[in-house]
Amino acid sequence: MDKNMKILIVDDFATMRGIIKNLLRDLGYNNVVEADDGNTALPILRGGGIQFLVTDWNMPRMTGLELLRAIRTDEKLAKLPVLMVTAEAKREQIVEAAQAGVNGYIVKPFTANTLREKIDKVFERIAASA
């Protein structure tokens, strides 16, 4: 896994961004940027350079799912790996996210280990389909 890949964390709750950032740092990922909702994330993503997106689901204004859909319809971002952070693994929700093109989901709260497993799985799948 490329520990230098540039990761964007999107969450409206700054504390949560801090938590995820710390967990990523524990896993050796230090190249992290943050955005506080879908609307601010999109320009950053379109600016290029982001290699992995970790986004919250439940956000005001633009939800994680809406952000995901916007990303998948954007030519340049269509294959950006996206990990969705959710509060619960409701089937309906996750299926919706999968159909919208999510690469993985992770249920809050999680440990660094769970996060590592999820990230590994996302990139294994991408490597396999490449």
Binding site: G48, N58, K79, I94, Q99, G101, K108, P109, A130
Partner: protein
């Protein structure tokens, strides 16, 4: 995560989630008047949801549990399966109170106790839909109580992924097995992804959703490029959180800079050098701008304090059996963070007073020909370098006669002095220690300890408080406080050989008077100014070591100061002018000297003491009375 990082995150969480909890209080009260507002219900839902999410990572399980149940209640509400009613609000508000109490415990470094099971049970009851609208497609899952649901396992998720493209028409084994639950497993998810991503390879997959096609289509058609696109200008995060102690340091240093600037400006006048003058003028402007800029970084909207009032008023009105509508104006007005905090207690007290003493009972109001519901207005606005706060009610108002009588009864004034008090000055009486107009003391606000404390608080902030009242119509309390606490405009005067700074907020006007015609009332020297007697004090008597024996001057500069409802003339030896000073606290030995607010360095490098006018009057005014009586 390391312990340090955990602690920092806990602190961040307390600040950020604390704001959410504060907002929740206001949103819930608002909800009572707009029970069906979806956006509001959703906002409350998300509030609990967000706190729960953060608390989960911090292992604050009681908090997680409570927020989880509350969130469930609002999920049911926002789906329209239950309506907001007062009994529901009582339970939810109680939950918010408990959340608040938990934050207090956490701020104090304590451990959370488990949540009262009764409260949890009541919240749980509220998640039961009241009128269940038949919704065939989703009903089974939604009727399930939270206890029946379980999280999807990884395996389920994988299966789900595998099953997905054909999900509607062809139920696959994996899905069928786990479809009992409404939560997905990891396995199902992986399966779902497998299916989604392999599907477009076969190019023709009618069941596939367009979005999916484009995703996987891209992955297949183009080689994966690890290299990021050339970085276009990225919009960076445009806010940072800064420890306020750092801002205090910066403010302090800017204060020092202002002092040096003042010195330079004074020196410039003595040095006849054009180039120097230009540079100094430049520094002058830059310093002023810097000062304003730093001040702005410390500004917070007063909303932070106002936000708690809807709840305060609601609870109080309920317990007193009154109907009160609270109106907030100017919530976005910015002022210094320290001021916002310092104003919280006095404002709470005044608003409680307005509801308790000002607004009458609904019956009483109807008899008086007013609408049954009273109105309390809380407004903030910036006025030049001041903030003006108004707490107004349309209640009973105050009767000057009753106030006069009370003052005499309590032995605060004799009947002559009371009768001489002007109408406005009567209202000032309520700020005196030990003055309470209610005979029966309620446990709400009238312990007779409040108003003088409010007054002291406001004065300490270099602010003033005025009262306008009309019996039967209501009362207006008007508070004026400076935008910042660190820098203060003053009037520099000399008394004897020493320089003193009088806060400009206290100075009403300056007169040159012929002091040969003095009158004496109640043993106090007075001079008539525009037909009103103005008590005079020769400051030298109070402030110079050799002052006591100095004769009264024959003419002099009189600085009229206001302290509360009182106006007093200070005779000074000379006037220097206005100067903006940076307040430096007095050294440990002098700390707490009454009548002195601090010290500063003047433009010409001298030390000046800053007078605390109310404190001065408090200490010396009494002594003066005694000595003259004796």
């Amino acid at each position: 995560m390391s312990i340090d990082a955990d602690d920092k995150i806990l602190q961040d969480f307390l600040v950020e989630a604390g704001e959410i909890v504060e907002n929740l209080g206001g949103q819930l009260v608002e909800l009572e008047s707009r029970p069906g507002d979806y956006d509001l219900l959703n906002a409350v839902f998300r509030g609990f949801h967000t706190i729960k999410g953060g608390a989960g990572f911090l292992n604050l399980n009681p908090l997680v549990e409570l927020c989880h149940r509350s969130e469930d209640v609002f999920n049911v509400l926002r789906q329209g399966k239950r309506m907001v009613d007062p009994s529901l609000m009582d339970v939810v508000l109680q939950a918010v109170d408990v959340v608040n109490a938990m934050f207090q415990v956490l701020r104090g470094g304590g451990e959370l106790a488990p949540v009262d099971t009764q409260l949890l049970a009541r919240l749980e009851q509220l998640t039961q839909p009241v009128e269940c609208v038949p919704q065939p497609s989703t009903a089974p899952a939604q009727v399930q109580s939270p206890a029946d649901t379980y999280d999807l396992t990884d395996q389920e998720f994988e299966d789900l992924l595998r099953a997905l493209p054909a999900s509607a028409p062809v139920p696959q084994a994996g899905v069928a097995e786990s479809s009992q639950s409404d939560e997905i497993t990891d396995a199902e998810f992986e399966a779902l992804l497998d299916a989604l991503q392999s599907a477009p390879l076969e190019k023709k997959q009618p069941a596939c959703v367009p979005a999916v096609k484009s995703v996987s289509g891209e992955i297949v058609d183009e080689p994966p490029s690890a290299a990021p696109a050339p970085t276009a200008p990225v919009i960076a995060e445009n806010t940072v959180r800064v420890d306020t102690r750092r801002l205090d340091d910066i403010m302090n240093m800017v204060g020092e800079l202002v002092l040096v600037r003042n010195r330079l400006v004074t020196l410039k006048a003595a040095v006849d050098d054009e180039q120097m003058a230009v540079v100094v003028a430049n520094i002058d402007v830059v310093t002023s701008n810097l000062q304003i800029a730093v001040m702005k970084t410390r500004m917070q909207p007063i909303k932070k304090v106002f936000g708690r009032f809807p709840r305060v008023v609601r609870d109080l009105a309920r317990s007193l059996g009154k109907e009160v509508v609270l109106e907030l104006q100017g919530e976005e007005t910015d002022l210094d963070k320290n001021l916002v905090e310092a104003l919280a207690d006095p404002l709470v007290h005044l608003v409680r007073n307005a509801v308790d003493h000002g607004i009458e009972t609904p019956e009483g109001r109807l008899v008086a020909g007013k609408p049954g519901a009273g109105r309390v207005l809380l407004a903030a606005a910036q006025e030049g370098d001041h903030i003006r706060l108004v707490i107004a009610d349309d209640g009973a108002g105050m009767d000057p006669e009753i106030l006069r009588r009370k003052a005499v009864e309590k032995g605060i004034l004799d009947s002559d002095a009371a009768a001489r008090l002007k109408r406005e000055d009567c209202y000032g009486l309520i700020f005196l220690p030990g003055f309470s107009t209610k005979n029966d003391i309620s446990d709400v606000s009238g312990r007779g300890v409040g108003m003088d404390v409010v007054k002291t608080c406001i004065t300490r902030l270099n602010g003033t408080i005025d009262i306008e009242s009309e019996p039967g119509k209501g009362t207006h309390m008007i508070i004026r406080v400076p935008l910042t606490l660190a820098i203060m405009p003053t009037l520099m005067v000399t008394v004897g050989a020493q320089v003193f700074a009088l806060p400009l907020t206290c100075v009403a006007e300056i007169l040159d008077l012929d002091l040969k015609k003095l009158n004496s009332i109640d043993g106090q020297r007075v001079v008539m100014v525009r037909d009103h007697p103005l008590p005079l004090i020769y400051l030298r008597h109070w402030l110079s070591s050799d002052g006591a024996n100095q004769p009264w001057p024959e003419s002099g500069h009189v600085v009229i100061v206001t302290a509360g409802a009182q106006r007093i003339g200070f005779i000074v030896d000379s006037l220097i002018g206005q100067e903006e000073v940076v307040i430096k606290p007095l050294g440990a030995l002098l700390q707490g000297t009454s009548g002195l607010a601090g010290a500063t360095i003047t433009g010409n490098g001298r030390m000046a003491l800053i007078l605390d006018v109310p404190g001065l009057m408090h200490t010396y005014g009494r002594r003066e009375r005694h000595s003259e009586v004796a």
